[in-house]
């Protein structure tokens, strides 16, 4: 059955891109096909055989740190380059194997999943709650954070997702929360250690209210104090909470700053773990958070400068549903603005990569080719440069060098596939009525199937969604 324009938009704009073997439902009733992915937990699940749990990731980190300590013995600075390679880089490389396995698993899943919209939502929220593996200690946790927090939270509320994210070792370590102590806490008074406001600030600025969301430096400090004590078990801290296993969230009372805290003009008296959680839940349900989440979601699926009407509809859905994610996501499907026949969004490198592989119908791709492609295209999973995550606009991704790197990669893929593909019919199947006459003609006139495939993948309509 030929694709209608709506069917093309459903798989390409909302999903990860068309496959030649896309299920029939995607074409017969695109909106229903998208909606049915939202409430089933299985849509969001990644087959995780062989991948670490939070606990085994914590154990891997523990033995890495132990190994590093034994081998460097505090003398890393005085070692020869060869000795440094052996003592520092080799263990780090082993730790990175975990991340590479995660990258491979997510990519292969993206290549074949039939729930492409659900997967795109996972990528969106994973970016909203960025845990980047650009720190040694977060390397083993970045993937499992996405599986155990983001994927597991997609059928719940934003507030629950925020709390789960903040409690996870990946986030606690990425934003330096695990060692933060109240200056007047039992441990803080005894040692020369104290407050670290990084996590509190980024939650306010990036994950909830937004930089213009109306908080002050005093709110950051107060919130950071409320979060003191939020830590994870492992190494010596395991001894602080009897019975905790490595990687478990623990509340360390002796790190916690005593007293009532005031954040956004509200007082929080509960002087325990509940204090931080109460603040998180209020932040999650704040109108500024609804506005920020709505803006980001609309920017991601509709346009770099989304229409105010779409943002308002999403914000309203967030507010009235109490931040229920399936309701918010369903609102997105219902927006006319999201079905604009003109594709407005330039694909991110990751979206381009996955949609190109799906376009060819490849069943899988080997590990080395995966990591090389992400490196070349400039978006290695879980390597966002900062807690803000990856950018989400054409200006950030369509730089001259980035565009030519896409041509180089597309050409490499096309050369490998050689004459096995018929680019013109693939383009027709994937894009349907969105395929322009100019592109169809350019593909038809290509000097080889390989060049035709490169042109199809690099065509203006395939570069956008």
């Amino acid at each position: 059955m030929p694709r209608t324009l709506a069917a093309s938009i459903a798989v390409n704009r909302f999903g990860l891109g068309a496959r030649p073997d896309e299920p029939e439902a995607a074409t017969t009733d695109p909106k229903a096909w998208l909606a049915q992915q939202l409430t089933r937990a299985s849509s969001f699940t990644l087959p995780s055989g062989g991948l670490p749990t939070t606990r085994s990731a914590a154990e891997a980190l523990g033995s890495y740190l132990e190994d590093l300590k034994t081998k460097t013995d505090g003398k890393a600075g005085k070692m020869s380059p060869e000795a440094q390679e052996e003592a520092i880089l080799k263990p780090l490389k082993e730790l990175r194997e975990i991340l590479i396995a995660e990258i491979e698993a997510r990519t292969l899943h993206g290549l074949t999943t039939e729930a492409g919209f659900a997967e795109r939502l996972v990528l969106f929220w994973s970016n909203h709650f960025t845990v980047s593996a650009n720190k040694a200690v977060t390397i083993p946790f970045a993937g499992v954070f996405e599986r155990e927090v983001i994927r597991a939270g997609m059928t719940g509320t934003f507030a629950d997702l925020l709390v789960a994210s903040t409690r996870h070792p990946g986030m606690l370590l990425y934003l330096d929360q695990a060692q933060s102590m109240g200056p007047n806490s039992k441990a803080g008074k005894r040692r020369d250690k104290g407050l670290n406001e990084n996590l509190a600030r980024e939650i306010l600025e990036l994950q909830t209210l937004g930089a213009q969301g109306g908080y002050t430096q005093a709110d950051v400090t107060e919130f950071a104090k409320a979060l003191t004590g939020w830590s994870l078990a492992g190494g010596r801290t395991k001894l602080l909470v009897p019975g905790a296993d490595p990687g478990d969230f623990i509340f360390v009372d002796r790190f916690h700053e005593p007293g009532t805290r005031t954040v956004m003009e509200k007082r929080y008296s509960a002087d325990d773990e509940g204090q931080g959680e109460a603040i998180l839940r209020d932040l999650a349900n704040h109108p500024s958070t609804a506005q920020r989440v709505a803006t980001k979601l609309a920017r991601h699926f509709i346009s770099d400068t989304p229409p105010a009407s779409a943002v308002e509809a999403l914000a309203k859905s967030f507010r009235t549903s109490g931040g229920r994610l399936p309701a918010l996501h369903e609102t997105l499907i219902s927006l006319d603005e999201a079905w604009n026949p003109e594709a407005q969004k330039f694909k991110s490198p990751n979206e381009f990569f996955l949609s190109a592989l799906r376009f060819t119908g490849l069943p899988k791709i080997e590990r080395k080719a995966i990591t090389a492609a992400y490196g070349l295209l400039g978006q290695v999973p879980w390597q966002a440069p900062s807690p803000e995550g990856w950018p989400d606009d054409a200006a950030s991704w369509a730089g001259p060098d980035a565009v030519i790197k896409r041509v180089e990669w597309a050409q490499g893929l096309a050369d490998r596939l050689g004459t096995k593909v018929r680019p013109e019919s693939l383009a027709r199947a994937a894009l349907g009525p969105a395929l322009s006459a100019a592109t169809a003609q350019s593909i038809a006139r290509a000097e080889s199937a390989s060049q035709g495939l490169t042109l199809a993948l690099m065509s203006p309509e395939f570069q956008r969604r």
Binding site: N196, V403, P460
Partner: protein
């Protein structure tokens, strides 16, 4: 203490007669802007300026910095002595050599007009050159290049996949990064150019990339591997080498932008050794590579090394520093009139700190950029204060930092 680090007299001498005509058109033959290279290095994540340029002679320094304090010159791990009780971090040996040979100037307590503490908003203001967040959608360097008279060279390159905000707004800015893939077929590229004829985003981007690749290829850079792509202290040098090779090629760009990541030292920052020291050593190696790579162009080069804001004066609870306000900016190169500080020094007395915690922003970073654009490229005050830096008419360029 407030040290007037540069006298009015010096300012008059530096900013003087050559530019009385006050317009870019007044450039003489001896100052072709095409030969006047400018490299902007953005340290993303917020450099702890007090770690790079330590005011070890300030009475409050040791108490305020605690374990982060560096030792005085001559002691183990001690700073490299500048003037007036200031010292460079011991891992900035090349920068120190530049200082002693008069090719490094330092503005010790700079900030953009932004006064909050978000990296992303601060980088936005640093790069747009506007007075507030989202004050402009393109960058000050892009607008400066556009404002140069048409007979002058105004190509610029960013060593990165995408164009940083600071360069947006210029039609002749491009981006380039080393590749480890076989280059694209020329025939395919020309067919794609046809296909992009009506595409305002992809057409100009690909055209620009093809042109830069031609320069890179003519300079023997085809074989460069992808090591420069991974940012971090080990990669800074490779990025700088790439910039130098592109700029010194025949027909190479007049300006380059480099971004070095990894300065957000919230935990275990270290002092003479440690994580920040590694980054400073990487920065130092990169600056040496720029000098070596630019070779004959170095005498006509200005490099500005800046960051989005500084960090707290005091150590935080985890051996690091949190987001602050004032930080140090560096100007180096053969065209810099160095071996001195520019701007004011607010001091570390508790009362002098911004909001009781940060080095005060005594100097507007735009006054440093304006100094380069006026004295190195000859842009006039009016263009600088209105077009290049919207709302910048009240900002005065710091004079005497550039050789004229």
């Amino acid at each position: 203490m407030t040290l007037p680090l540069m006298t009015r007299r010096a300012a008059l001498m530096a900013g003087g007669a050559l530019f009385l005509a006050g317009s870019a058109g007044a450039l003489t033959l001896s100052r072709q802007a095409g030969d006047r290279k400018f490299v902007l290095v953005i340290l993303r994540g917020a450099l702890d300026g007090l770690a790079a340029v330590a005011p070890y002679g300030d009475a409050h320094y040791r108490a305020a910095r605690g374990k982060l304090a560096l030792s005085p010159p001559g002691e183990a791990g001690g700073v490299l002595p500048l003037t007036e009780g200031f010292g460079l971090h011991p891992d900035l040996a090349f920068l120190y050599a530049q200082w002693t040979s008069g090719e490094l100037a330092i503005v010790p307590a700079c900030a953009s007009p932004y006064r909050e503490r978000s990296h992303f908003d601060a980088q936005d203001v640093l790069e747009t050159g506007a007075a507030e967040v989202f004050g402009a959608s393109d960058g000050w360097l892009g607008r400066a290049l556009t404002a140069l008279p048409p007979e002058l060279k105004r190509e610029a390159v960013a060593i990165s996949g995408s164009l940083p905000l600071v360069l947006r707004g210029s039609a002749s800015a491009t981006s380039w990064a080393p590749s480890f893939a076989p280059s694209a077929s020329e025939d395919t590229l020309s067919r794609l150019m046809d296909l992009y004829a009506g595409d305002a985003l992809l057409g100009p981007a690909l055209a620009s990339a093809i042109e830069t690749n031609a320069i890179a290829s003519a300079s023997g850079m085809d074989g460069m591997d992808g090591k420069g792509r991974r940012n971090g202290p080990g990669a800074y040098k490779g990025l700088a080498e790439a910039a130098a090779r592109l700029m010194s090629a025949e027909g190479g760009p007049a300006a380059a932008v480099l971004s070095f990541d990894g300065w957000d030292t919230h935990a275990n920052q270290g002092a003479a050794n440690g994580q920040l020291a590694l980054r400073l050593a990487g920065l130092d190696a990169a600056m040496r590579a720029l000098r070596d790579g630019l070779g004959a162009h170095w005498p006509n080069t200005v490099v500005a090394v800046v960051t989005e804001f500084g960090r707290t004066v005091a150590e935080n609870g985890t051996g690091g520093t949190d987001h602050g306000t004032g930080s140090a900016a560096f100007l180096l190169g053969g065209a810099v009139s160095g071996g001195k500080f520019g701007g004011d020094w607010p001091g570390l007395a508790p009362k002098a700190l911004f909001e009781g915690r940060d080095l005060a922003p005594a100097n507007d970073i735009r006054s440093v950029f304006m100094a380069v654009l006026r004295d190195h490229w000859g842009l006039d005050r009016d263009t600088l204060g209105r077009t290049v830096f919207p709302d910048g008419t009240g900002v005065r360029p710091i004079s005497g930092l550039i050789r004229t």
